[in-house]
């Protein structure tokens, strides 16, 4: 039995303490925007925020989460996809298959909270999630856009005005 605070709500779950937080979020809490990609803290698909810090939830035991810890998943990042990162992602059409994008967006949001005007080097260091479809160029541009650093330079060749 564990009590979790997820997206502002307390949720009591019946689950073994060594279950990864990722699977508790997906299977007990029922929020499936947070994805399984590797289970070994490599890909970042499972990224959530805990007390504002970026965490790869596949590699955190649910027993190590305190009831007072504030967990935010992609579903709780904003109302109506209004977070600047989500808006920039939409403006630049970042996603391809989209599977990694919950994790990418959570990583970018955590970066911008710490560094509102990140440099390319900051983005390199912070955005280490895997995207198998290869959306990195647009991710970089969208992080800059979300930070208000202009449109992040030219990406692709399309017209990005929405």
């Amino acid at each position: 039995m564990a009590r979790l605070n997820i997206n502002g709500q307390n949720r009591d779950v019946q689950v073994a303490a060594d279950t990864p937080l990722l699977w508790v979020i997906r299977e007990q809490v029922g929020l499936t925007g947070t994805k399984y990609g590797c289970g070994v803290a490599q890909c970042g698909s499972c990224s959530v925020h805990i007390n504002g810090e970026l965490v790869r939830s596949c590699s955190m035991r649910v027993g190590d989460v305190r009831p007072t810890d504030k967990i935010v998943t992609i579903e709780g990042l904003s109302r109506n996809s209004s977070h600047p990162v989500q808006r920039a992602w939409a403006a630049i059409d970042v996603p391809q298959c989209g599977y990694c994008q919950s994790g990418q967006i959570m990583a970018a949001a955590a970066l911008l909270r710490k560094k509102p005007r990140p440099t390319d080097a900051d983005i390199d260091e912070a955005m280490t999630n895997i995207c198998r479809c290869g959306t990195y160029q647009r991710i970089r541009a969208a992080v800059h856009m979300a930070a208000g650093n202009g449109n992040g330079g030219s990406v692709g060749r399309g017209n990005r005005k929405s």
Binding site: Y36, Q96, D124, T128, R132
Partner: protein, 730 residues
């Protein structure tokens, strides 16, 4: 403006859909549709105009999509093509994914649903555009009938029909109910628009499917929740060809949530539990005895030996022969030789393999990410024994495909086998990443030996190419190998125009393939054999160009006058890639061109190699002629993605084999390119508007050779085996 018109059919159908799918899926949202399913089943036929378009009274135009969306933008591109001919308001376009059971019930009216070989748009563009035109003509005719004027006097713009003489206007939504009563024109009789006049197709419009990918709301198959559903984890014998001997169910039967341990055919075992984590935990604890068989002796070294025999063998499995290459090389002023190799590669889709199956007395249902809904339907039927007409596969957008989720359908068959033990209960089978890495259909391993002869003027007078390696057809489609020949493994070396034609003219040419199969399953991997062959040919041509003392670009151009499309693309890459212009200190350039999937590709790469031998790719310019362009921004996205997929493979990718099994089982060892390693990618399209080529796959084949040729410039040494990480560069 259409609020005064009350539709009586759509809300009913909508309700039917929600009720119906709740019964099926436990919630309408689970299927990811936002339009009435009934429409495709004829229940909403009031608005169905032809087979591709449904117009709602509120002027929404629902465009049907038969192909799978795996991130490549097919939904948006196909909708643009239909909407162009339909002349509707793009802002009112909705899409509806068709199901294979629906297609079957309508005698495959919507054609082929498979999505591979970069075929999604190019193979269906003609009939879907005609489908849009059919709907437009019916709508215009309905308005003409209502007003009693000749249809030729009407104009239409963004779904609003006008009659200038009488200053009357109406909308698609208002005339749709009348239009549906008309006999559709013969689609073949329709004249399509000149692509040069397009206003929706060919434009860099935003994707239609982005919103749900930004907030976690898109339900991938792995996310599906059904009432009463159980979860399963699976382990198949890690040695291909091995068998499951036994397992000790008692050791895990009491673990939390465990329902049953199931033998899956002769080779695998699955644990079924309440949650997937419980199933996986129990599976990891389950004592399993495998009968690994003879293949457990196979390793990288034995495979390499086996493949090397194909480099010199006298018997081959397909060739292209012009002139006498061996004699020309023997008599040449200068001879060049080199041997190259490439490893097995897994697809590693971000969404691991999964399928959910429910079998009831008279119905078989499956929810799975698939590149071929009809192949999934067939596998569901044959494996379950339920007749095709009582099967359905529900559509989910794929978390990546890259060729893994096409014809093999192993994931559907395994899920059916487990579900058979639980009649009436939906079973979601999810593979762990490790299982996914172990039981792929890998990009085939191969080697290639090249020899070339230059005359006194340093012209290439003879080229001999011997490719040896595993055959995809032998593993998946032996029927395609008439007389033991398999020209698919020579993709990109072909003489025939239009698909994967070699862009050089060599007076004496011999290209041969020697099949050397292993026990490892192989299959198509984004770009398929153009990957290896593009790397082999373009890196060898680079070696020959250097031996000739001529510029790499000039040397290539001199052999391409008979292949103007290849040449134009190479020239575009060279020009936009600043060929011949100075670079910052330590940065070097490489170039390559190749053809696959009906499109012409070329690339330049700017690369540096530091003192420790670390490679950094700074910038790549890719030129593509895919004939027509459905959406330039999505072409750019596919090119960017191809660069990432191709660079991961070039720099890091390998799936080593030891004791008969794969040893690189997760992203800690199967290294992927990360954002910090992403070069700046520029996409240059040079469309000639006289053919339809592919987009998702063609450009990947020039990524490796452009980068490797730049490394050659940087270090003065060729890289003759991939991945680069295993090569000592300095």
């Amino acid at each position: 403006m259409t609020k005064t018109i009350h539709d009586t059919t759509a809300p009913v159908s909508r309700r039917k859909f929600i009720v119906g799918s709740a019964a099926v899926a436990g919630g309408g949202l689970a299927l990811g549709f936002d339009v009435p399913l009934g429409a495709a089943q004829g229940q909403n036929a009031g608005n169905e105009l032809g087979i591709w378009v449904v117009v709602r009274p509120n002027n929404d135009c629902v465009i049907r999509i038969a192909r799978s969306e795996m991130g490549q933008g097919t939904i948006t591109g196909l909708a643009q093509l239909v909407a162009e001919e339909l002349e509707c308001d793009w802002q009112r376009v909705k899409t509806e994914g068709l199901l294979p059971g629906q297609n079957l019930a309508r005698k495959r009216a919507w054609g082929n649903m498979s999505t591979g070989g970069s075929q999604g748009i190019r193979q269906s563009q003609d009939y879907v555009r005609r489908g849009g035109a059919v709907a437009r003509m019916m709508l215009l005719q309905a308005a003409a009938n209502e007003w009693g004027v000749p249809v030729g006097e009407l104009t239409v713009s963004k779904g609003t029909i006008s009659h200038a003489a009488s200053k009357r206007q109406t909308t698609y939504g208002r005339v749709a109910a009348a239009a549906v009563k008309l006999t559709p024109p013969d689609p073949k009789s329709i004249k399509l628009k000149d692509p040069k006049s397009w206003t929706i197709a060919g434009k860099p419009l935003k994707r239609l499917d982005t919103a749900a990918k930004l907030n976690g709301s898109l339900v991938y198959a792995i996310d599906l929740k059904l009432p009463g559903m159980l979860n399963a984890a699976i382990k198949d014998c890690p040695v291909y060809g091995g068998k499951l001997r036994s397992f000790d169910e008692a050791k895990v039967a009491k673990l939390p949530g465990v329902r049953k341990v199931v033998r899956v055919k002769d080779t695998a075992v699955a644990v079924v539990a309440d949650t997937w984590w419980q199933a996986k935990t129990a599976l990891d604890a389950l004592p399993i005895v495998w009968d690994e068989g003879e293949n457990a002796k196979v390793s990288d070294a034995t495979i390499a030996q086996h493949i090397a025999t194909g480099l010199t063998a006298t018997e081959t499995n397909g060739d292209r022969r012009e002139g006498d290459a061996l004699a020309a090389i023997a008599g040449a002023a200068k001879k060049i030789e080199a041997t190259y190799s490439t490893p097995f590669l897994s697809h590693a889709c971000m969404e691991v393999m999964n399928a959910t199956v429910r079998l009831t007395a008279d119905k078989a249902e499956c929810w799975t990410p698939t590149q071929n809904l009809e192949a999934s339907l067939a596998a569901l039927s044959s494996e379950s024994g339920v007749p095709l007409g009582q099967c359905e596969v529900y559509r989910h957008d794929l978390g990546g495909g890259f060729g893994r989720r096409g014809g093999t359908q192993d994931y559907v068959r395994k899920a059916v086998t487990v579900a058979k033990e639980f009649p009436g209960i939906p079973i979601k089978l999810i593979w762990s990443r490790e299982e996914d890495q172990t039981h792929d259909f890998f990009r085939p391993i191969s080697m290639a030996k090249f020899s070339a002869g230059l005359d006194e003027k340093n012209n290439l007078v003879g080229l001999h190419v011997r490719v040896s390696g595993q055959s995809i057809n032998a593993h998946l489609n032996p029927a395609a190998m008439a007389g033991g020949r398999d020209m698919r493994q020579l993709q990109g070396f072909w003489a025939e125009a239009g698909d994967a034609q070699m862009g050089y003219t060599v007076p004496n040419l011999l290209v041969e393939y020697a099949m050397r199969n292993t026990h490892v399953p192989v299959g198509p991997w984004r770009g398929v054999n153009t990957n290896q062959n593009g790397y082999y040919l373009e890196c060898f041509i680079e070696e020959v160009a250097r031996a000739s003392g001529r510029d790499s670009l000039e040397f290539r151009r001199a052999m391409m006058s008979k292949h103007p499309k290849h040449l134009a693309v190479l020239n575009a890459a060279a020009e936009k890639g600043d060929w011949g212009k100075p670079l910052p200190p330590g940065v070097h350039r490489g170039i390559a061109q190749f053809m696959g999937y009906g499109s012409y590709s070329a690339a330049t790469a700017e690369v540096s190699v530091d003192k420790a031998g670390n490679v950094k790719v700074h910038r790549m310019v890719l030129a593509l002629n895919c004939g027509h362009i459905a959406n330039p921004d999505q072409i750019a996205a596919q090119v960017e993605g191809s660069v990432v997929y191709g660079l991961s493979a070039t720099l890091f990718g390998e799936c080593p084999v030891a004791n008969g099994r794969m040893t690189s089982l997760n992203f800690d060892t199967y290294r992927m390119l990360r954002l910090a390693e992403m070069p700046k990618v520029e996409t240059v399209t040079v469309p000639t508007y006289d053919f339809w080529g592919g987009v998702g796959e063609p450009t990947i084949c020039v990524v490796a050779p452009a980068v490797i040729n730049a490394i050659f410039t940087a270090t003065g040494k060729p890289v003759r085996s991939l991945p680069v990480k295993n090569v000592k560069l300095v």
